[in-house]
Symmetry: none
DNA sequence: GATTAAAGTTCCACAAATTCCCACAAAAAA
DNA sequence: TTTTTTGTGGGAATTTGTGGAACTTTAATC
Protein backbone atom coordinates (compact mmCIF):
# COMPACT_ATOMS: atom_id res chain seq x y z
CA UNK A 1 0.00 0.00 0.00
CA UNK A 2 1.53 3.24 -1.14
CA UNK A 3 0.57 6.72 -2.08
CA UNK A 4 -1.45 9.61 -0.74
CA UNK A 5 -5.10 10.12 -1.58
CA UNK A 6 -7.46 12.83 -0.45
CA UNK A 7 -11.25 12.63 -0.30
CA UNK A 8 -13.97 14.12 1.79
CA UNK A 9 -16.18 12.88 4.56
CA UNK A 10 -19.78 13.52 3.72
CA UNK A 11 -22.34 14.74 6.24
CA UNK A 12 -23.28 11.16 7.01
CA UNK A 13 -19.76 10.33 8.07
CA UNK A 14 -19.01 8.25 5.04
CA UNK A 15 -15.49 7.89 3.73
CA UNK A 16 -14.47 6.76 0.30
CA UNK A 17 -11.72 4.17 0.07
CA UNK A 18 -9.23 5.34 -2.56
CA UNK A 19 -9.38 3.06 -5.58
CA UNK A 20 -5.71 2.25 -5.39
CA UNK A 21 -6.02 0.95 -1.85
CA UNK A 22 -9.31 -0.83 -2.23
CA UNK A 23 -7.99 -4.12 -3.43
CA UNK A 24 -5.35 -4.35 -0.75
CA UNK A 25 -7.70 -3.37 2.05
CA UNK A 26 -10.29 -5.89 0.95
CA UNK A 27 -13.97 -6.22 1.80
CA UNK A 28 -13.44 -5.97 5.52
CA UNK A 29 -10.87 -3.89 7.33
CA UNK A 30 -10.26 -2.50 10.79
CA UNK A 31 -9.71 1.07 11.87
CA UNK A 32 -7.94 1.93 15.10
CA UNK A 33 -6.58 5.07 16.71
CA UNK A 34 -2.95 5.86 15.90
CA UNK A 35 -0.27 8.38 16.78
CA UNK A 36 -0.80 12.12 16.60
CA UNK A 37 -4.51 11.99 15.94
CA UNK A 38 -4.19 9.73 12.99
CA UNK A 39 -6.03 6.50 12.43
CA UNK A 40 -4.59 3.19 11.33
CA UNK A 41 -6.34 0.94 8.86
CA UNK A 42 -5.55 -2.74 8.69
CA UNK A 43 -6.66 -5.27 6.14
CA UNK A 44 -8.14 -8.35 7.74
CA UNK A 45 -4.98 -10.45 7.49
CA UNK A 46 -2.84 -7.84 9.20
CA UNK A 47 -5.51 -7.19 11.76
CA UNK A 48 -5.36 -10.77 12.90
CA UNK A 49 -1.71 -10.29 13.75
CA UNK A 50 -2.41 -7.08 15.62
CA UNK A 51 -5.16 -8.79 17.50
CA UNK A 52 -2.81 -11.56 18.54
CA UNK A 53 -0.54 -8.96 20.03
CA UNK A 54 -3.41 -7.51 21.99
CA UNK A 55 -4.20 -10.90 23.39
CA UNK A 56 -0.66 -11.60 24.42
CA UNK A 57 -0.58 -8.64 26.81
CA UNK A 58 -1.66 -9.51 30.38
CA UNK A 59 -4.97 -8.03 31.32
CA UNK A 60 -3.51 -6.14 34.27
CA UNK A 61 -1.22 -4.12 32.03
CA UNK A 62 -3.87 -3.28 29.58
CA UNK A 63 -5.04 0.14 30.69
CA UNK A 64 -4.04 1.87 27.50
CA UNK A 65 -4.79 -1.11 25.38
CA UNK A 66 -8.32 -1.26 26.69
CA UNK A 67 -8.87 2.22 25.42
CA UNK A 68 -7.36 1.48 22.05
CA UNK A 69 -9.15 -1.76 21.58
CA UNK A 70 -12.52 -0.41 22.57
CA UNK A 71 -12.27 2.14 19.80
CA UNK A 72 -11.59 -0.26 17.00
CA UNK A 73 -14.09 -0.27 14.17
CA UNK A 74 -14.75 -3.12 11.80
CA UNK A 75 -15.61 -1.59 8.45
CA UNK A 76 -17.21 -2.89 5.30
CA UNK A 77 -17.42 -0.60 2.30
CA UNK A 78 -20.72 -0.33 0.43
CA UNK A 79 -21.21 -0.84 -3.29
CA UNK A 80 -19.69 2.54 -4.07
CA UNK A 81 -16.65 1.79 -1.97
CA UNK A 82 -17.59 3.96 0.99
CA UNK A 83 -17.70 3.06 4.65
CA UNK A 84 -19.03 4.75 7.72
CA UNK A 85 -16.45 5.77 10.25
CA UNK A 86 -17.88 5.85 13.81
CA UNK A 87 -18.15 9.31 15.34
CA UNK A 88 -15.59 8.55 18.06
CA UNK A 89 -12.92 7.86 15.50
CA UNK A 90 -13.91 10.79 13.36
CA UNK A 91 -13.65 12.99 16.38
CA UNK A 92 -10.33 11.55 17.49
CA UNK A 93 -8.78 12.37 14.13
CA UNK A 94 -10.61 15.69 13.73
CA UNK A 95 -12.08 14.62 10.45
CA UNK A 96 -14.44 17.24 9.17
CA UNK A 97 -14.00 17.93 5.49
CA UNK A 98 -11.04 16.57 3.60
CA UNK A 99 -9.37 13.39 4.64
CA UNK A 100 -6.15 11.87 3.38
CA UNK A 101 -5.30 8.21 3.19
CA UNK A 102 -1.64 7.29 3.34
CA UNK A 103 -0.41 3.94 2.11
CA UNK A 104 2.12 2.63 4.61
CA UNK A 105 3.11 -0.77 3.35
CA UNK A 106 1.08 -3.33 5.28
CA UNK A 107 -1.43 -0.81 6.54
CA UNK A 108 -2.82 2.62 5.78
CA UNK A 109 -3.29 5.77 7.80
CA UNK A 110 -6.11 8.29 7.85
CA UNK A 111 -5.45 11.93 8.66
CA UNK A 112 -7.30 15.18 8.55
CA UNK A 113 -6.02 16.57 5.26
CA UNK A 114 -5.08 20.00 6.58
CA UNK A 115 -3.31 18.61 9.61
CA UNK A 116 -1.32 16.19 7.54
CA UNK A 117 -0.41 18.68 4.86
CA UNK A 118 0.94 21.05 7.44
CA UNK A 119 3.10 18.31 8.93
CA UNK A 120 4.36 17.17 5.59
CA UNK A 121 5.13 20.66 4.37
CA UNK A 122 7.07 21.46 7.52
CA UNK A 123 9.07 18.31 7.09
CA UNK A 124 9.80 18.82 3.42
CA UNK A 125 10.82 22.41 4.03
CA UNK A 126 13.99 21.17 5.66
CA UNK A 127 15.81 19.35 2.90
CA UNK A 128 18.22 17.75 5.36
CA UNK A 129 15.33 15.66 6.59
CA UNK A 130 14.93 13.94 3.29
CA UNK A 131 18.65 13.42 2.83
CA UNK A 132 18.92 11.81 6.26
CA UNK A 133 15.94 9.59 5.70
CA UNK A 134 17.20 8.39 2.34
CA UNK A 135 20.52 7.57 3.91
CA UNK A 136 18.74 5.46 6.51
CA UNK A 137 17.15 3.56 3.68
CA UNK A 138 20.55 2.93 2.19
CA UNK A 139 19.98 5.16 -0.83
CA UNK B 1 20.83 1.66 -16.37
CA UNK B 2 22.81 4.44 -17.93
CA UNK B 3 22.33 7.47 -20.09
CA UNK B 4 20.23 10.59 -20.25
CA UNK B 5 16.95 10.77 -22.12
CA UNK B 6 14.53 13.63 -22.48
CA UNK B 7 10.82 13.38 -23.23
CA UNK B 8 7.73 15.34 -22.43
CA UNK B 9 4.83 14.93 -20.03
CA UNK B 10 1.54 15.19 -21.84
CA UNK B 11 -1.51 17.00 -20.48
CA UNK B 12 -2.76 13.78 -18.91
CA UNK B 13 0.38 13.41 -16.88
CA UNK B 14 1.77 10.56 -18.92
CA UNK B 15 5.48 9.96 -19.21
CA UNK B 16 7.23 7.89 -21.80
CA UNK B 17 9.80 5.40 -20.58
CA UNK B 18 12.93 5.78 -22.72
CA UNK B 19 13.36 2.70 -24.87
CA UNK B 20 16.82 2.05 -23.51
CA UNK B 21 15.54 1.87 -19.95
CA UNK B 22 12.38 0.00 -20.62
CA UNK B 23 13.74 -3.47 -20.38
CA UNK B 24 15.61 -2.82 -17.16
CA UNK B 25 12.70 -1.09 -15.48
CA UNK B 26 10.31 -3.87 -16.39
CA UNK B 27 6.52 -4.00 -16.45
CA UNK B 28 6.11 -2.63 -12.95
CA UNK B 29 8.28 -0.09 -11.25
CA UNK B 30 8.09 2.30 -8.32
CA UNK B 31 8.59 6.04 -8.25
CA UNK B 32 9.52 7.89 -5.07
CA UNK B 33 10.63 11.39 -4.14
CA UNK B 34 14.38 12.01 -4.17
CA UNK B 35 16.80 14.79 -3.35
CA UNK B 36 16.55 18.27 -4.80
CA UNK B 37 13.13 17.80 -6.33
CA UNK B 38 14.12 14.80 -8.34
CA UNK B 39 12.31 11.48 -8.40
CA UNK B 40 13.77 8.02 -8.06
CA UNK B 41 12.59 5.11 -10.12
CA UNK B 42 13.15 1.55 -8.98
CA UNK B 43 12.58 -1.66 -10.88
CA UNK B 44 10.56 -4.16 -8.88
CA UNK B 45 13.55 -6.16 -7.68
CA UNK B 46 15.32 -3.12 -6.28
CA UNK B 47 12.13 -1.82 -4.82
CA UNK B 48 11.75 -4.93 -2.74
CA UNK B 49 15.05 -4.15 -1.09
CA UNK B 50 14.04 -0.59 -0.40
CA UNK B 51 10.77 -1.77 0.98
CA UNK B 52 12.55 -4.09 3.37
CA UNK B 53 14.39 -1.09 4.73
CA UNK B 54 11.13 0.70 5.26
CA UNK B 55 9.70 -2.20 7.15
CA UNK B 56 12.68 -2.55 9.43
CA UNK B 57 12.01 0.84 10.98
CA UNK B 58 9.64 0.72 13.99
CA UNK B 59 6.38 2.50 13.52
CA UNK B 60 7.01 4.98 16.29
CA UNK B 61 10.22 6.21 14.64
CA UNK B 62 8.81 6.34 11.22
CA UNK B 63 7.78 9.96 11.13
CA UNK B 64 10.18 10.80 8.36
CA UNK B 65 9.60 7.66 6.43
CA UNK B 66 5.89 8.27 6.45
CA UNK B 67 6.30 11.25 4.18
CA UNK B 68 8.47 9.36 1.79
CA UNK B 69 6.39 6.25 1.71
CA UNK B 70 3.15 8.10 1.21
CA UNK B 71 4.65 9.64 -1.89
CA UNK B 72 5.47 6.41 -3.62
CA UNK B 73 3.69 5.39 -6.79
CA UNK B 74 3.46 1.95 -8.31
CA UNK B 75 3.58 2.39 -12.08
CA UNK B 76 2.74 0.16 -14.99
CA UNK B 77 3.43 1.41 -18.49
CA UNK B 78 0.66 1.10 -21.11
CA UNK B 79 0.99 -0.51 -24.53
CA UNK B 80 2.86 2.50 -25.88
CA UNK B 81 5.32 2.39 -23.01
CA UNK B 82 3.88 5.33 -21.11
CA UNK B 83 2.84 5.54 -17.48
CA UNK B 84 0.86 8.02 -15.48
CA UNK B 85 2.78 9.87 -12.84
CA UNK B 86 0.46 10.98 -10.00
CA UNK B 87 0.00 14.73 -9.65
CA UNK B 88 1.75 14.84 -6.28
CA UNK B 89 4.97 13.54 -7.76
CA UNK B 90 4.70 15.69 -10.84
CA UNK B 91 4.30 18.68 -8.61
CA UNK B 92 7.14 17.72 -6.32
CA UNK B 93 9.54 17.52 -9.25
CA UNK B 94 8.06 20.53 -11.05
CA UNK B 95 7.41 18.48 -14.16
CA UNK B 96 5.54 20.52 -16.70
CA UNK B 97 6.97 20.10 -20.16
CA UNK B 98 10.25 18.32 -20.75
CA UNK B 99 11.47 15.64 -18.44
CA UNK B 100 14.83 13.90 -18.33
CA UNK B 101 15.50 10.37 -17.23
CA UNK B 102 18.94 9.60 -15.87
CA UNK B 103 20.19 6.05 -15.67
CA UNK B 104 21.86 5.55 -12.29
CA UNK B 105 22.91 1.93 -12.21
CA UNK B 106 20.34 0.07 -10.16
CA UNK B 107 17.75 2.81 -10.45
CA UNK B 108 16.86 5.83 -12.55
CA UNK B 109 16.10 9.44 -11.75
CA UNK B 110 13.53 11.80 -13.17
CA UNK B 111 14.16 15.53 -13.31
CA UNK B 112 12.55 18.55 -14.84
CA UNK B 113 14.68 18.97 -17.94
CA UNK B 114 15.40 22.66 -17.45
CA UNK B 115 16.23 22.26 -13.79
CA UNK B 116 18.56 19.40 -14.49
CA UNK B 117 20.31 21.10 -17.39
CA UNK B 118 20.98 24.12 -15.26
CA UNK B 119 22.48 21.97 -12.54
CA UNK B 120 24.57 20.04 -14.99
CA UNK B 121 25.86 23.19 -16.65
CA UNK B 122 26.80 24.68 -13.31
CA UNK B 123 28.64 21.55 -12.38
CA UNK B 124 30.52 21.33 -15.64
CA UNK B 125 31.56 24.96 -15.42
CA UNK B 126 33.96 24.09 -12.64
CA UNK B 127 36.49 21.66 -14.09
CA UNK B 128 37.82 20.75 -10.64
CA UNK B 129 34.60 18.94 -9.98
CA UNK B 130 35.35 16.34 -12.57
CA UNK B 131 38.89 15.82 -11.34
CA UNK B 132 37.67 15.33 -7.80
CA UNK B 133 35.01 12.90 -8.87
CA UNK B 134 37.39 10.80 -10.90
CA UNK B 135 39.76 10.67 -7.97
CA UNK B 136 36.96 9.36 -5.79
CA UNK B 137 36.52 6.60 -8.31
CA UNK B 138 40.23 5.81 -8.11
CA UNK B 139 40.84 6.82 -11.71
C1' DG C 1 -49.29 0.61 21.82
C1' DA C 2 -49.47 3.66 17.98
C1' DT C 3 -47.31 7.61 15.78
C1' DT C 4 -43.66 10.38 14.75
C1' DA C 5 -39.10 11.62 14.63
C1' DA C 6 -34.32 10.65 14.22
C1' DA C 7 -30.60 8.04 12.74
C1' DG C 8 -28.56 4.65 9.97
C1' DT C 9 -28.44 1.79 5.49
C1' DT C 10 -28.87 0.73 0.97
C1' DC C 11 -29.41 2.06 -3.48
C1' DC C 12 -29.51 5.04 -7.70
C1' DA C 13 -27.75 8.63 -10.65
C1' DC C 14 -24.38 11.60 -12.53
C1' DA C 15 -20.03 14.36 -13.34
C1' DA C 16 -15.23 14.11 -13.38
C1' DA C 17 -11.27 11.69 -13.82
C1' DT C 18 -8.72 7.86 -15.45
C1' DT C 19 -7.73 4.07 -18.39
C1' DC C 20 -7.67 1.84 -22.68
C1' DC C 21 -7.18 1.88 -27.32
C1' DC C 22 -6.30 3.50 -32.04
C1' DA C 23 -3.87 6.40 -35.22
C1' DC C 24 -0.05 8.69 -36.85
C1' DA C 25 4.59 11.22 -37.15
C1' DA C 26 9.41 10.93 -36.48
C1' DA C 27 13.48 8.40 -36.03
C1' DA C 28 16.21 4.34 -36.52
C1' DA C 29 17.24 0.00 -38.67
C1' DA C 30 17.26 -3.06 -42.58
C1' DT D 1 13.67 3.11 -49.83
C1' DT D 2 11.11 0.23 -47.10
C1' DT D 3 10.20 -1.49 -42.71
C1' DT D 4 10.26 -1.40 -37.89
C1' DT D 5 10.58 0.81 -33.61
C1' DT D 6 10.00 4.95 -30.86
C1' DG D 7 7.55 8.83 -29.33
C1' DT D 8 3.11 11.79 -29.21
C1' DG D 9 -1.75 13.03 -29.47
C1' DG D 10 -6.41 12.38 -28.75
C1' DG D 11 -11.14 9.97 -28.63
C1' DA D 12 -14.12 6.37 -26.48
C1' DA D 13 -15.20 3.61 -22.76
C1' DT D 14 -14.81 2.59 -18.14
C1' DT D 15 -13.99 3.58 -13.40
C1' DT D 16 -13.96 6.70 -9.57
C1' DG D 17 -15.80 9.94 -6.48
C1' DT D 18 -19.88 12.54 -4.76
C1' DG D 19 -24.55 13.80 -3.69
C1' DG D 20 -28.84 12.65 -2.50
C1' DA D 21 -33.34 9.81 -2.58
C1' DA D 22 -35.70 5.95 -0.62
C1' DC D 23 -36.16 2.62 2.63
C1' DT D 24 -35.15 0.42 7.59
C1' DT D 25 -34.38 0.40 11.97
C1' DT D 26 -34.21 2.48 16.48
C1' DA D 27 -35.80 5.56 19.70
C1' DA D 28 -38.92 9.03 21.57
C1' DT D 29 -43.45 10.95 22.48
C1' DC D 30 -48.00 10.99 23.35
Amino acid sequence: MFGKFTHNVDPKGRLFVPAKLREELGDVFYVMIGLENSLMVFPESKWEQVNESFNSVPLSDSGALRYIRSNVARCEPDKQGRFVLPPILRKYANLTNDVTFLGQGDHAEIWDADAYNAKEAAWLANSDNLATALKELGL
